[in-house]
């Protein structure tokens, strides 16, 4: 067997790694615009889903431009609004932390402070447990719930064990996903408090 010197091995590995690094950098830079667009489309699709518009990925851009807009509140917080087919209201972006990583969602609200739709997603919650927050079944519980009490003050929806379904402020938590459910609770409480002025002033 041919003998290789230490110097050969070190130079060989260095050159190999450099070549690989160049190839990967070029690909990453070249494909970045496409990947960014995919992520943006996915976000738009999620926002559309929050107002009950379910469209395939190809038609997302058109529908999004028709239905959804972006605006800033007086205290310069970004939010979305929807205005189509004689329905209008605001969509609040939510973000928080679950058990393993970030969780986020969108809450669509009509003028009276009732939730018309919600969607949630997560980066890496446990599939089948905390990961269930991304399911339609979980999100649909929010439809018809409220984020303001009878005086028009912000009151977040809570995830609870054996929730009272007739209450406008309670939905069932995820069994086996207590930590993630707590994360959703904290996220709802914190982000609705953040948008307090907008909700109490604008929506009512």
């Amino acid at each position: 067997m041919r003998q290789f010197s230490n110097r050969y091995m070190i130079i060989y590995s260095a050159v190999l790694v450099a070549v690989v690094a160049v190839v990967l950098s070029i690909t990453a830079v070249a494909l970045k615009p496409l990947q960014e667009r995919n992520k943006e489309r996915e976000q738009q699709q999620m926002i559309l889903k929050a107002v009950g518009v379910d469209v395939p990925r190809q038609e997302v851009e058109k529908e999004y431009n028709r239905c959804i807009g972006q605006a800033y509140s007086d205290d310069s917080l970004m939010y979305y609004y929807y205005d189509f087919d004689n329905r209008d209201g605001i969509i609040l972006p939510l973000c928080g932390t679950g058990l393993w990583g970030p969780i986020w969602g969108y809450l669509a609200i009509d003028k009276s402070g009732a939730i018309v739709g919600a969607v949630f997603d997560h980066k890496g919650e446990t599939p089948g447990l905390g990961g269930e927050i991304a399911s339609d079944k979980f999100a649909q519980q929010f439809i018809g719930k409220r984020i303001t009490d009878s005086d028009g003050h912000v009151k977040p929806v809570r995830l609870k064990k054996s929730a009272d379904h007739s209450s406008p402020f309670e939905v069932d938590a995820i069994s086996g996903g207590t930590m993630t459910s707590n994360g959703v609770n904290d996220m709802l409480a914190a982000d609705l408090a953040k948008y307090k002025d907008l909700i109490e002033g604008g929506v009512q």
Binding site: Y8, M9, S13, V20, Q35, R57
Partner: protein, 207 residues
């Protein structure tokens, strides 16, 4: 194509199948076969990675110092896997989300390293390409069978098309089998395939 080269393609489909005979690459084959589409994309990704890695390593084989050969193989495989991952994220975003970590885990797929060590390190590029393709396709065939069976009986769809609903089976009381979409069922199905395969090839059975 010579008879010897042709065997490199055909053997992995039968007596040297990476999954059912060598029992390699089981992890990903359980994880991504709940539906046909991700199974097929995963199968294609692995095939591309094994074939190209085989060719690259075969081209470099005389220059690779034996003491660092595993590292060199790993760098080449990682590069190919990251390339595949980037391309999927750009052109097949939904599938790449479904496959999540399993694309990255192709790096550790035993089939890839196994072929590099056993074949590409000592063979010319052309046979190495065929060997890579053969093993990739032998892996693919099992994934596609699993994906087909699991999606059809687990979700009642094929490639997302609601076939059971169109056949009107739900109206006469048919229900999807929830176990089918769980990874353990994939293991049971692989077991059944191995059983069937060995019953037809007695020389594969251990004494």
């Amino acid at each position: 194509m010579s008879k010897r080269n042709w065997k490199l393609i055909t053997l992995p489909f039968n007596k040297e199948n990476p999954i059912t005979v060598q029992i390699l690459g089981i992890c990903s084959c359980l994880a991504v076969t709940a539906q046909l589409k991700p199974a097929l994309v995963m199968a294609m990704s692995v095939t591309v990675v094994v074939a190209l890695a085989n060719v690259i390593i075969s081209l470099l084989r005389k220059t690779i110092p034996p003491r660092i050969r595993i590292i060199v193989q790993l760098v080449v495989v990682s590069m190919l896997v990251v390339l595949v991952d980037q391309v999927l994220k750009a052109y097949m975003y939904d599938v790449s989300k479904q496959l999540s970590v399993f694309v990255g885990l192709i790096i550790t797929n035993c089939i890839v390293m196994g072929r590099l060590e056993a074949f590409a390190m000592v063979q010319k590029p052309w046979p190495s390409l065929l060997d890579g393709l053969g093993n990739g396709l032998g892996y693919s065939v099992i994934l596609i069978v699993l994906g087909f069976v699991r999606e059809l009986f687990g979700s009642g769809t094929l490639w997302g098309y609601p076939i059971m609903e169109k056949l009107g089976l739900y109206e006469i009381g048919y229900e999807n089998n929830g176990l089918m979409i769980m990874p353990p069922m994939a293991l049971i199905l692989v077991g059944l395939i191995i059983w069937w395969h060995r019953s037809r090839n007695k020389d594969l059975c251990e004494q």
